[in-house]
Symmetry: C2
Subunit: 450 residues, 2 copies
């Protein structure tokens, strides 16, 4: 048998009403159902019927002022994915959790258990939390710096890896006749001691179906890339041009190789927010409907936060060129990838403030494309075959319709072109992504000793 052709990964990124910031105001959005778990279950079932690899939920440990204007609160991802896994069979679920504010033991248990309950369908989006209001919610007087957060993140990943590995696979014996429930010689203290974290272990749970959840990451700064190259098995990223995505792709794969890793075992997934119509004009008209519902005050608030500005943009003339001189140039800010992305748009497109706001309203800097199903599929194929992506983080502008039209119109084209699976060939998220199941660190230490 010849090797199977390289297959696309499709990940569904769910925001309550969809990713367009005004989606919740549009009659097509499921406004009344955003706290109803059955709504999210039906979205996950729809994605599963279309053979998506996974469903993803972002997270943030606080709220901002923007809550006044939009459904921008965070669905708690760990509880939610357990309710969704219970309503599905195959599709994976990726939950975001912060290395800055979780305790490693708590996080390891929540994800380890979820991997059991879902039969091995879980991924962890590892974030360091850039949201400033989180610090006060966790008793801190200041938000830790970008560098401190990544320093703790490194320790955190090492600590939870040791916890997930603390039971070797063979430790769970469960033999009634001998009365041996667990082989305690194969249960190991994690014994992690770092600058920020100290965890004894072992975890109080047999090793999970996937060994460890799939490690996912979404930082694009220098620290973020370095971190991703070392640990991540899938990466979410935002790009406005093919070239930018290609350069990111090359860079991360190279860095992974430098860590001695197989670059095929890091799936790079740029975001795409598609407005789909039977003609391009129809798709654009649909996008315009959503853009017309934008509340300028909200958009300006978001932009202020994204750029880390101190000044209130509401005084500015919306139809004058974007006031480039207001953007700070401090190194700390420059580290933030979303900041850089906005700056690139400003420098490349020289938009007015209003144009910039509409540019970002669709998906906060992710690629927004209005077109026919063929055009959307062409875009995906190009990025997939031209070294920019291993798959796509699908960010429907509104829900549930924006997912429904994608699965009905675009997925079959990708399947006909041989780019995307007709059915699942395995049961776990690692199976879907073609990722190996890692052996326990402690098992290999024993082998080396033997």
């Amino acid at each position: 048998m010849s090797e199977a052709p390289r297959q696309l990964t499709l990940n569904l990124f769910i925001y309550p009403n969809g990713h367009h910031e005004a989606a919740w105001r549009h009659p097509l959005a499921a406004r009344e159902r955003i706290l109803d778990v059955r709504y999210y279950q039906s979205l996950a079932q729809q994605a599963e019927a279309a053979k998506f690899d996974a469903v993803f939920f972002a997270d943030g440990l606080g709220i901002g002022d923007g809550i006044r204007y939009a459904s921008r609160f965070h669905l708690e991802p760990l509880t939610l994915i357990n309710a969704l896994a219970a309503a599905t069979e195959k599709i994976g679920f990726i939950a975001t959790a912060s290395t800055s504010f979780y305790d490693p033991y708590t996080l390891a248990r929540l994800f380890g258990a979820t991997d059991h309950w879902s039969g091995g369908r879980i991924g962890w989006n590892i974030v360091t939390s850039s949201l400033k209001s989180a610090a006060g919610n966790y008793g801190l007087t200041r938000h830790p710096s970008h560098a401190e957060r990544y320093e703790r993140a490194h320790e955190f990943v090492q600590a939870v890896t040791r916890l997930w590995d603390s039971w070797e696979d063979e430790a769970f014996v469960n033999d009634a006749s001998t009365g041996l429930f667990a082989d305690t010689d194969r249960i190991h203290a994690a014994n992690f001691t770092g600058k920020h974290l100290r965890v004894q272990g072992a975890l109080n749970l047999p090793r999970s179906p996937q060994g460890r959840p799939v490690y996912v990451q979404a930082g694009s700064s220098e620290d973020g890339r370095q971190f991703a190259a070392q640990y991540a098995e899938a990466i979410f990223t935002a790009h406005q041009t093919l070239e930018s995505a290609q350069s990111f792709y090359r860079d991360v794969k190279q860095r992974a190789a430098q860590w001695g890793r197989n670059p095929a075992h890091i799936k790079i997934l740029p975001g795409l927010s598609p407005f789909i119509g039977s003609t391009e004009a129809e798709a654009r008209a649909l996008q315009r409907e959503f853009d017309e519902l934008i509340q300028t005050d909200f958009s300006l608030l978001q932009l202020k936060n994204q750029l880390g500005l101190d000044i209130d943009l509401r005084g500015q003339d919306l139809d004058a060129p974007f006031p480039r001189h207001l953007i700070p140039h401090s190194a700390d800010q420059q580290e933030h990838s979303r900041f850089q992305l906005v700056l690139d748009i400003v420098d490349r497109e020289k938009p007015t403030l209003r144009q910039l706001i509409e540019r970002l309203a669709g998906a906060r800097g992710h690629f927004v494309l209005a077109g026919t199903p063929e055009q959307i599929a062409d875009h995906i194929e190009t990025w997939f075959t031209q070294g920019a992506a291993d798959g796509i983080n699908v960010m429907p502008p509104w829900l549930p319709g924006g997912l429904e039209v994608f699965t009905r119109e675009v997925v079959p084209i990708l399947q006909r072109r041989g780019l995307f699976r007709q059915d699942y060939s395995g049961d776990t998220l690692r199976d879907h992504l073609g990722l190996p199941r890692p052996p326990s660190l402690f098992a290999s230490e024993q082998q080396q000793a033997a």
Copy 2:
């Protein structure tokens, strides 16, 4: 209409293979399914078909040596109840979480979200964690003292209450036409500052169906009772005699009244682990089958931990009287209610070490009763009508059969006697328990100001 007669609460307390410490070795137990979520879903569905109020999961943040001998690891409760709520409609779920090791913001989100996903069916068993191995798993060099843990627990409950109340019910507006998603005048900072905890808030989630999860508690020490009287809406407790349960019941209800609370709004639920047979002899024979599977080394390990002994009991003669002189008398130990309970058995029954072990093997000091369905129902009725209980924490010795026989044989008797509901009359756990839905603290502050 006359007032409805007082109704029993029935709560199902699930341990993976049931509560008898050797249950996992018995052919009747579901040994192969203890990591399979569908097994727990089917137990919850069975309890729901019998109209139980709730299903409860204990928790502990570490493992002990006993894991070698028995299925004594903790199913992570929060993830699990989300998977079970998704497979049921009405029954409540009570998850244990520790005030000593969780962060208030994390816990408030996990429970608040779960209350949303379940449609208001959630309770929180508030524990301070007596398990000593937890401290090392959370980076501490020593386990905090009983007094310190309760001091933090008080702050913790106040902090999370403010978080759950931080969105007034009316704050979630979701009005597309005006573009007002949330009324930020009705979203409040929690602003809690204590000796141990500091939380800014608000929570990043609209107020949940029950306003707050049901507050459950299970400490029986002086501090524990005081805490329960102040906050708890349901209490789990272990008693070996009717008199002991009655005295506990009176004491807690009185304390609650002293806090200005309605004593009917604290449900007291002693544990009962029933071996059921068509004759008493058959029930006893069944119990004996399980007792014969006990591993003495495990039982002695558990007893050592329960009594806080430093010495290894494995040297002792099993058939000599229990060596009472080995038990320490330090005040710190005496505070622990489980310690006191074992001591009472020793002093009352003067057992041999072997007899004491078998006495505790069924349910760690909870009441174990072998009898016919009528006898089990009589016991429950007596405790319910004689001021010892508002309901029963049902602890099947083995699963799934121990639940199945209880729901098939005992529940109908309780229903015929008019003690237990024929069907649910409401949708939330507060409805089932007859507990009020608390208004937001901040809403009443506003009313007072107006």
